[in-house]
Structure formats: C-alpha cells, structure tokens
Amino acid sequence: MGMPVSLALRGRHADDTAARTAWAGALAVLREADRVFSTYRADSDVSRLSRGESGLEDCAPEVAEVLALGAMAERDSSGAFSVWRPGPDGDVVLDPSGVVKGWAVERAAALLRSLDGTDFCLSAGGDMVCSTADPDAEPWRVGIEDPADPRRLVAVVPVSSGAVATSGRAHRGEHVVDARTGRPPAAVASVTVIAGSLTWADIDATAAFALGPEAARWLETRPGRCGLVVWADGTTTTVHPVSR
C-alpha cells in the first residue's frame, strides 16, 4: 500500500518485549492485507479476482468480508462509494482499497489492545486508531491537517477511544471519485470522520468526500460518528454525533 505506519505507546508496556511483539504482529497483519488486497500486485487475490482468473471461493476469506463492507457502504451512500470503478479500457475493475486500509489497520490494532495498562495510537497514512487504558487519562490529541496547506492545522480532536480518518485531494492527487459520475467531487476539500472503528471512519470519510456538496448532511445521518468537513472555499462544518 506504500504508506508510512507509526505507533505511539504510553504506559506499562511502552517500551518492552511485549510491545515489540505486538508491533511486529501489527505489521504482519498489514503486510498480509497488502499481499491479499493490493491492486498494484498482479498476483494478489484481488488482482486475480478482478481479472476473472479466480473466483471468490479461491480467495482468502477476508476478501468476502471486505467486499461485503464495500457493498454496505455503496448502499448507504446511494452509490457514491463503490469498490468497483471504470478501468482504463472501459471494463469495470475491482478496487477495494477504499475499504481495505481502515479495515486492515483496525485489525492490526487488535494486537495492541492486548497490551494491558498501555495507551496506543496506531497511525497509517494519516488515519489512526487511538486507545487509552484509563478512559479518564489524557486523550491522544489528533491534529487535522489543513487541506489547503499541509503545514497548517484546521482542528484538533481529543481522542481517548476511537478512530480518525481523513479523505481529501491532498498528497495523492484527485484519487477519490463519485462512483456515480466517475469524477472527483468539487465542493469539498477534505472530510474527517471520528468513529468507534477505523473500518467505518475510513469508509465514511471516503463516502462523504465522494458525495461532495452532500458530505456534511450525509455524515449527520450516520450513528456514532462525528467529524469535520472542510469545503473547497475554506469554510468548515463540524458534524456532531447523533444518538442511535
């Protein structure tokens, strides 16, 4: 996936063998996800499935799980989010990377949850899972980058327990498109979502971004999430959580 991964630890196992074992395990989970899901590797399960060379039954069982998440997100976003996109020669190709990243990092974080008495923040390519052993302890302070200027922050979120994901045009160019039109949305510069799991924070950030002008209104309907939409003109909308 070509993304930097950082881990911050505080507390009992901040710097010991248990922490190093958990970190090695977390990296192994991410490497395995890359091996199965990478669209850049011609021999990955997903690449072979996309080319029609193998069926879902030949893939790792996690592929069905990720495709199901993608189908749910497509349904919930009225089709703006999809793991299927138009390929270079007019075919429809499978690209589950909008689901896989958050899902894989959330799985990797499970290994860090086993470290008792320890706070962690596992960050991968600008998205992160945060946890504090004591809910009243000092929260992790997550800065939200200004999409217009990566040297600036637009907001800070104090997170004791939860995940944060941001989707936008910065860094990688216009890589998120509205699956209904195949075009990148124009009205919105970035969407940050805070949720209980990074799987859904990441999916919802991408889906809300793809929805363009509807981003904040859609996010307001998602239970257990809150977030920040930065519009193309630099104004912002803070989305408060709704009760379920």
Binding site: G52, G55, S123, P158, S161, H171, H175, S197
Partner: protein
C-alpha cells in the same frame, strides 16, 4: 456474516449482503467530547501540542516531508 455473490462468465458482477457483518469495531464507542476543535496553527513539530496528524492519505514519498514524520522523530 453471509454474502451472496453473483458470478457471470467468471467475473464477480454483484455482491449482496444478506446479513450484517460481525464487526466488533462497529459497536465500539468513541469517547464523549471527541469533537474537532477548530484552530488555526502553523505546524511545527517542536511546538504543536498534538500527538499525531490526520490528513488525506500520506504516501511513503510524502511522508519524509510531513509533520507526522517530524512528530515521530521528536518521539512525542
């Protein structure tokens, strides 16, 4: 979890969710007050009062010049 897959000519054409996936994380709650607080700060790893940065997908190429890289090196 149950998923229904429609295959046509060896290609997966449709995936339908028959039952909600059992994703532990889905029911994990975020802490109260985990709301974005608007700020306007020029970033500097030495002075920024933050642990980590969320931004649109950092790639490995972009990482070396990112604030996250500076925070990691500072060991915050």
């Amino acid at each position: 979890m149950q998923v229904q897959i429609t295959v046509s000519g060896g290609q997966v054409t449709d995936v339908e969710v028959l039952e909600y996936p059992d994703d532990d994380g889905r029911d994990r709650q975020i802490n109260a007050r985990a709301l974005p607080i608007l700020v306007s700060e020029t970033l500097d790893a030495q002075s920024a009062d933050i642990d980590v940065v969320s931004g649109a997908t950092y790639t490995s190429e972009g990482y070396t010049s990112s604030l996250q890289s500076a925070l990691d090196q500072a060991g915050l």
